[in-house]
C-alpha cells in the first residue's frame, strides 16, 4: 500500500503524538488535601501540571487519536497494490488478419516484451460499435480504444504492473504518419507485426486464369425481361471499373503459364437492393457480385431484438443502416487503402455488417465462416463480404460510389478489385503466421501507474482501484467524523456536573 501524499499521514501521526503527550501532561487541579497549616505554603497558582504515567481518559485519547489517524489516512490518498506483478499485452488486430487469442498467444510467445503476458484483444474487450469485430485501421480509433482498455484493465486488476500494446497490421504499405502521431499517446513501446511486402499478392498459379465480366440484372443470371442486362444502369462507373480491372488482372496473368487457361465468369449485378432476391445457391465455382447502386445491400435480420432508428438492439446479423452522417476516411481491401485526397463523402457508407460468424475454425490460420469480409472501412466496419453458397460464392459490396467518379480506377482500388475478381475462397485475410515483427518503438512496457489516478471514464486518464478500495478514503473520513462526534459526546458526559 502506498500513499499519494504521505506527508499528510505524517502530519496526522505527529498530531496524534501531540494529543497523546497532552494527555500525559494534563493541566488540572491536583487532588485536594486538608492541611491545617496550609497557610504556611507559598501562594501560587492553584492549577498545577500533573504528569501521569497512564492516560486518565483512555477512551477520549483513543477517539481523538483514531479520528486524527483516520482522517490523515484518508487524506493521504492510500493506494493498494499487490506484490504480484502481471504483464498484460493489449493486442490490436487490424481487419484482414486472421487472428484469435490462441494464435496471438502463439505469436507473442517468442516476443521479448510480451512473453508470459496475459493477452487481451482490444476489440474483444470493448463494447464494439456496430460492425466492429477487430480493431481499426485508423490509429485515431485504435489508440484511444487501447488506452481506454488499459485503464479499465489496471482498474479491475490490481496485479497488473505493466502493459504492452501490440498491433497486428494486415498490410505493410501505407503512411505511418498517423501512427507516429498517436504513438506518443501510449506511455510505452508499441510493437507492430505486419506481413511482408508481397504477402497480399496471390500465390503463383500453375493455371492461367481469364476473367470475363457478365453484367446481369440478377445474381443468378436469370434474365428478367429476356436480356441479362435489363435493369443495369447505363454508363455505370462500377461496371466500367470492373472491366478495367478485369483487363488488368488478365494482363497480369499472362506472366503465368499458358499451358492451360481457365475462364472465370464474374457476374455483376447492380440492381437496387429492394429488387434483389437472395438465392439459395450458386453454380459451382461461380462468382456473383452484388454491388447495389445505393450501396445498401439486402437488409439483415435481428436474431434477438428489433432494430430501431438505425440502432441495433440485441443480436443482429446482416446489413443494416448506418447512422446518419457516418463517414469513414478510407476503404481498405487487399492491404491497400483507398484514401487521400478523395472526399470522404464519395464513399456512401450507409450500411454495415454486424455479427460476423466467427465460429472456431478447425484448420489453423484459416478462416471458413459462412461470411467472410474482405473489405473494411478504416474504422474496422465491414464494407464487403463473401458468402459461400453451394460450391460458388456471392460477394456483396456495401459501398456507394458517385456516378462519374474515377476513384475505382485508381491504383488504390486494385486491392478491392483483386479480391472481387479472385476465385471463391481466395484468401482475403493475412494469416497470423505470416506476420513478423516490424517495428517496436522503444523497449519499455507502459507502467500501470500511468493509467491510474484519473477519472476512470477519461479515455486518456488512469484508473483507480476497484470499487471497494475506492470507497476506503470516504469510509475513513466518515469514521473520523463519527469518532469526533463520539469524542464530543464522551467529553460532554464526563464533564457533566454530578448532583
Amino acid at each position: 500500500m502506498t500513499f499519494a501524499s504521505p506527508f499528510v499521514l505524517g502530519i496526522a501521526a505527529a498530531a496524534a503524538l501531540v494529543i497523546a503527550g497532552l494527555h500525559l501532561l494534563s493541566v488540572r487541579r491536583p487532588p485536594e488535601l486538608l492541611l491545617p497549616t496550609a497557610r504556611f505554603l507559598p501562594a501560587t497558582e492553584v492549577r498545577a501540571v500533573s504528569r501521569t504515567r497512564t492516560p486518565s481518559d483512555l477512551l477520549l485519547l483513543l477517539l481523538r487519536v483514531g479520528a486524527l489517524l483516520a482522517a490523515g489516512f484518508a487524506l493521504a490518498g492510500p493506494r493498494f497494490t499487490t506484490t504480484r506483478a502481471e504483464r498484460v499485452a493489449l493486442v490490436g488486430v487490424e481487419p484482414g488478419v486472421l487472428a484469435d487469442t490462441a494464435a496471438v498467444r502463439r505469436l507473442l510467445a517468442t516476443d521479448v516484451l510480451t512473453a508470459n503476458a496475459r493477452v487481451v484483444l482490444v476489440a474483444e474487450s470493448l463494447s464494439a460499435p456496430t460492425g466492429t469485430m477487430l480493431a481499426s485501421y485508423d490509429a485515431a480509433q485504435l489508440f484511444p480504444r487501447a488506452i481506454q482498455l488499459a485503464a479499465r484493465t489496471v482498474r479491475d486488476d490490481l496485479a497488473v504492473d505493466s502493459l504492452a500494446l501490440i498491433v497486428l497490421r494486415a498490410h505493410s504499405t501505407g503512411s505511418d504518419s498517423a501512427w507516429s502521431a498517436w504513438r506518443s499517446a501510449w506511455p510505452g513501446s508499441v510493437v507492430t507485426y505486419s506481413p511482408p511486402a508481397d504477402a497480399s499478392q496471390p500465390p503463383p498459379r500453375r493455371v492461367a486464369r481469364r476473367v470475363v465480366l457478365v453484367p446481369v440484372a440478377a445474381v443468378d443470371g436469370t434474365p428478367t425481361n429476356g436480356s441479362p442486362r435489363d435493369g443495369m444502369p447505363p454508363d455505370d462507373v462500377v461496371e466500367a471499373s470492373f472491366r478495367w480491372h478485369a483487363a488488368r488482372v488478365n494482363h497480369n496473368d499472362r506472366s503465368a503459364s499458358d499451358t492451360a487457361v481457365v475462364v472465370d465468369s464474374i457476374f455483376l449485378s447492380r440492381i437496387p437492393s429492394r429488387q434483389f432476391a437472395p438465392r439459395d445457391g450458386s453454380l459451382p465455382g461461380r462468382v456473383s457480385i452484388y454491388w447495389p447502386l445505393d450501396g445498401a445491400p439486402n437488409m439483415g435480420a435481428a436474431i434477438n431484438g428489433t432494430p430501431a432508428n438505425g440502432a441495433t438492439t440485441g443480436q443482429w446479423r446482416g446489413w443494416q443502416a448506418a447512422p446518419a452522417g457516418d463517414t469513414a476516411s478510407a476503404l481498405v481491401a487487399g492491404g491497400i487503402a483507398m484514401m487521400g485526397g478523395w472526399p470522404v463523402a464519395q464513399f456512401g457508407r450507409w450500411n454495415a455488417f454486424v455479427d460476423v460468424d466467427t465460429s472456431p475454425n478447425t484448420e489453423a490460420d484459416t478462416l471458413a465462416p459462412r461470411w467472410q469480409p474482405f473489405a473494411w472501412w478504416s474504422d474496422g466496419r465491414v464494407a464487403a463480404i463473401e458468402q459461400y453458397a453451394g460450391k460458388g460464392c456471392e460477394r456483396t459490396v456495401a459501398v456507394m460510389v458517385a456516378q462519374g467518379h474515377d476513384i475505382l480506377l485508381s491504383p488504390a482500388a486494385n486491392g478491392l478489385f483483386d479480391r472481387l475478381l479472385a476465385p471463391c475462397k481466395h484468401p482475403a485475410s493475412v494469416a497470423i503466421a505470416a506476420l513478423s515483427l516490424r517495428t517496436a518503438s522503444g523497449t519499455t512496457l507502459a507502467p500501470a501507474s500511468a493509467f491510474r489516478g484519473g477519472d476512470p471514464d477519461d479515455i486518456m486518464g488512469g484508473a483507480t482501484p476497484n470499487r471497494v478500495v475506492r470507497w476506503i478514503p470516504s469510509l475513513l473520513l466518515a469514521l473520523s467524523l463519527v469518532a469526533l462526534v463520539a469524542e464530543w459526546r464522551v467529553r460532554r458526559i464526563a464533564n457533566a456536573p454530578s448532583i
Binding site: 491536583p30 487532588p31 485536594e32 497549616t37 505554603l41 507559598p42 497558582e45
Partner: protein, 308 residues
C-alpha cells in the same frame, strides 16, 4: 475510670509528681510550695518572736536554752487546681486516621492523651483537675475536683467531644480561676494571639500557664506529590503543594513555631512543643521536668499507642 486505652499511659505515669513551677498561693494543704509560712513540719528558719505571732510556733526548747524567744518558720504546702483548656477545633482533627497510611494519631487524640496523663499526675498529688474545651458539639466544662474518678470523668468527657468547627478558645479561659494552673493544649492555629494575650495576663497575675503546642508529624513532613492544600477551618485558604513549595513551607512553619515559643515564654508562660511522633509519656515527663521546650522524638520511638 479512664478508658482501657489509657491504661498503659496511666501505668507509665504512676508515681510521677508534677510540682508547680512557682509557689502557689494560700490554699488547702497540698503538695505544692505555697507562699504562706505556716505550720507544716518542714522547718525553714527561726525568727524572733514578734507580738502577734502564734505562741504555738515558739521554739520552747531554744527559749529555755537561750532565753530568747524564736518562732519556727516553715514553708507551707498547698494544692493548686489544674485546669486543662483543650483546643477542639477542626484543625486538631488532623491528620485523619482513616485517610492516613498507618492510622496516624490526630492532634486531638494526642492532646487528649496528654491531658489525661497530666490530669492523672495532678490528681495523684491531690490537686483538683478541671477541663474546658469546645468542639462541634459546643463548649464542654468539667469543674476542678479532687474526688476519685475525676480523671475517668475527664477522659469520658473528652471522648464525648466532637472535634470540629473553628471556635475560639479564649472565651473559655475567662471561666478558669486565676490562681489555677492552666494547661493549654492547642495547635495555635486558631485564636492564638488572643490566647497568648490572656495567658500573658494570667502569668502577670502570678498564675501558672503552660502551653503545649501540639504539632502533627504530617505537618512537619509533608506528603510527596502535588496536592491542593486547603485549610479545614478557612475555606478561602488553599495553596498548591508540591515538591517545590516544601522548603518554603518548612521555613515558614519553623519561623512560626519559633516566634510562638518566644512570645509565650516572654509572656511568662511555659511553652512546649508536643509532636505527635513523640510518645505522650515522654512529653508529659519532660514537661513536668521543665524540659518540655526541647522535646524531640528519638530515632527508636514509634507511634505505637502502647508507647504513649
Amino acid at each position: 475510670m479512664a478508658s482501657q486505652n489509657d491504661g498503659p499511659l496511666l501505668d507509665a505515669l504512676r508515681g510521677v509528681r508534677w510540682p508547680a513551677r512557682r509557689v502557689v498561693g494560700a490554699a488547702l494543704p497540698g503538695a505544692h510550695r505555697s507562699t504562706q509560712r505556716g505550720t507544716s513540719g518542714e522547718f525553714t528558719e527561726y525568727r524572733l518572736y514578734r507580738q502577734g505571732d502564734d505562741p504555738r510556733q515558739l521554739d520552747w526548747k531554744l527559749l529555755a536554752r537561750s532565753d530568747r524567744a524564736f518562732v519556727r518558720l516553715t514553708n507551707d504546702r498547698a494544692v493548686v487546681a489544674t485546669w486543662f483548656a483543650i483546643d477542639a477545633s477542626l484543625s486538631m482533627a488532623y491528620p485523619d486516621a482513616s485517610s492516613t497510611p498507618g492510622g496516624a494519631l490526630s492532634k486531638w487524640a494526642f492532646a487528649r492523651a496528654i491531658a489525661v496523663g497530666l490530669a492523672a499526675v495532678a490528681h495523684a498529688s491531690g490537686d483538683p483537675v478541671g477541663l474546658v474545651t469546645t468542639g462541634a458539639n459546643g463548649p464542654q466544662r468539667l469543674s476542678a475536683r479532687t474526688r476519685r474518678g475525676t480523671v475517668g470523668e475527664l477522659a469520658r468527657l473528652l471522648d464525648a467531644v466532637v472535634v470540629g468547627g473553628a471556635h475560639a478558645l479564649t472565651p473559655l479561659l475567662s471561666a478558669i480561676p486565676l490562681r489555677a494552673r492552666l494547661v493549654i493544649l492547642t495547635d495555635l492555629l486558631g485564636d492564638a494571639d488572643d490566647v497568648l494575650r490572656v495567658a500573658a495576663q494570667r502569668s502577670a497575675a502570678g498564675a501558672i500557664v503552660e502551653c503545649l503546642h501540639v504539632v502533627a508529624r504530617e505537618e512537619l513532613e509533608l506528603p510527596v506529590g502535588a496536592f491542593l492544600a486547603r485549610d479545614p477551618e478557612q475555606a478561602t485558604v488553599e495553596r498548591t503543594m508540591d515538591r517545590r513549595t516544601h522548603e518554603a513551607y518548612r521555613n515558614r512553619f519553623d519561623a512560626f513555631r519559633t516566634e510562638r515559643a518566644r512570645l509565650w515564654r516572654a509572656s511568662g508562660a511555659g511553652y512546649a512543643e508536643a509532636r505527635t511522633d513523640v510518645p505522650a509519656t515522654r512529653v508529659i515527663r519532660q514537661l513536668i521536668a521543665g524540659r518540655g521546650r526541647d522535646v524531640a522524638p528519638s530515632a527508636a520511638e514509634s507511634f505505637t499507642p502502647e508507647g504513649r
